[in-house]
Amino acid sequence: MMAELALEATDFDARAISPLRELGAYEALWEDPDTSFKTLSEKFAARPGAVPSDFVPPARARECAAFVQERFHAAAVNRFGVRVHGAGDYPEKLRDAAHPVELIYYQGWWDLAESRSVAVVGTRKPSPEGLARTRRLVKALVKDNFTIVSGLATGIDTAAHETAIEEGGRTIAVIGTPLSHSYPRENTELQRKIATDFLVISQVPVRRYESQDYRRNRLFFPERNITMSALTEATIIVEAGETSGTLIQARAALQQGRKLFILDSCFNNKSLSWPQKFAEGGAIRVVGYDDIREHLSSTTY
């Protein structure tokens, strides 16, 4: 079944890409232990128009693609796709990230990636008030026809996805694991539901993820926050501690020219210094939902 990967380089189709071959080449690039999103983006920036297969021998790409197909099959990820920078329906807005991703995996309804969307994120250990605020906020955003994007983590993320679904809205999960994994485990079913009815996106290379230990894999979580920010018009932080990974997304949002909203309750918590710091950098303090609505409706996207 892999024979067609050796795409005949007839002159007219030399630039045509095979998604499976690109997937394999992307995975192969990650086999180098020094590869990071930063080194990859530099590699591609130095060769405009390049795709992963331009850097990898076909046999290695084939081998890596076969590995991923086998792993996904074992995890019952039978329908999935990839988006490759420079071909197909790759979302241009992802290029606003400091180290934009060259390839992403997805499961579900790709079309949602081009809808007007807002990220709702926050701590894994929310207060009851934080959860209630998340639900109220998501309800209002769904009513205004925004797609709710989050990271499938415990706490605020889970509440954001679940409320979007309950309210009849749309949701996208940008996950920090390969499509074949779920973190945390208890969100396996939620991930499956979002993959079936909505959209799950992952930039995490499967083979690299499976070959290194969990401490190094943890680094994929903040990376996906940067992609989540680039995918959306705005990031809203409901509740977050002083060292929360959510703050990575806050920084990315401002760097990428996205709007950053911080709920008033974060400012009122005197033990936190980050809300003030981001407000000075351009974040918007949200007292009521209208503060968000006003700023979003002025966006032509």
């Binding site: 007219f12 796709g81 197909g88 079309d111």
Partner: protein
């Protein structure tokens, strides 16, 4: 902030990742497309969705305010193919459009594919041949691509024998939307009869993923 995505300018090959969405396509079928048509009922956000919708706009909408979008979609598509293919393609390919559902004598006959192909390299010679023609009009809705089999389609097709010389180097069968692949397979079989030794490929503006809503079901996007 970067503005919204534009229509793809590079071809993608149907491979193991995508072939299952197209019931009649087999491993040996070499097919290429530009965009993915992924609209779900009520949703249509990607640049590919409105492009295909406008491209396929029915001829009875002529004169309505939305009509100019059709010509625009034809132009955008021609430009995308121009970016995706080089001069060698112009010299080696013979483009054979999938016949429209309405016969040439029908007032609803739509030559959008021929117009688009003519617009890829304006002013330069391009080999576009309507070798396979449909003898009678069919109802696009009730005979939609999801239902017709390649055999049933072939029964309606005929060959225009005046267009057979010279023998093409490569035949590119062109259609707007790849769904089951039935039209591609039917036209391929017809072409194969007259050019048994010629390589045949498929070129599509977009492919429609399974379960995506039929473009005909949209009144407006």
């Amino acid at each position: 902030m970067t503005s919204g995505s534009t229509f793809p300018q590079r071809l993608t090959k149907i491979d193991d990742l995508t072939r299952a969405d197209h019931f009649y396509l087999a491993v040996e079928d070499e097919c290429y497309f530009l965009g993915d048509y992924t609209a779900r009922k009520g949703y249509a956000f990607s640049p590919t969705n409105p492009l295909i919708f406008n491209f396929k706009k029915k001829m009875d909408r002529r004169g309505r305010p939305e009509w100019p979008y059709k010509a625009q979609a034809i132009g955008t598509t021609a430009a995308a193919f121009r970016a995706a293919m080089n001069d060698k393609a112009r010299e080696t390919l013979t483009f054979v459009p999938v016949p429209p559902s309405k016969a040439k004598s029908d007032p609803l006959y739509d030559d959008r594919l021929v117009q688009m192909l003519a617009g890829i390299w304006p002013g330069q010679s391009v080999d576009v041949r309507e070798i396979v023609i449909q003898t009678a009009s069919t109802d696009a809705v009730h005979d939609s691509e999801t239902r017709a089999t390649p055999a049933a389609l072939q029964a309606r097709y005929t060959i225009d024998r005046r267009l057979l010389a010279p023998v093409p180097q490569i035949v590119a069968i062109v259609d707007d939307l790849l769904t089951t692949g039935a039209h591609f397979k039917a036209v391929s079989a017809m072409v194969r009869r007259v050019f048994p030794d010629t390589k045949i490929i498929g070129l599509f503006i977009a492919r429609r993923v399974s379960e995506a809503v039929d473009v005909e079901d949209f009144d407006e996007i």
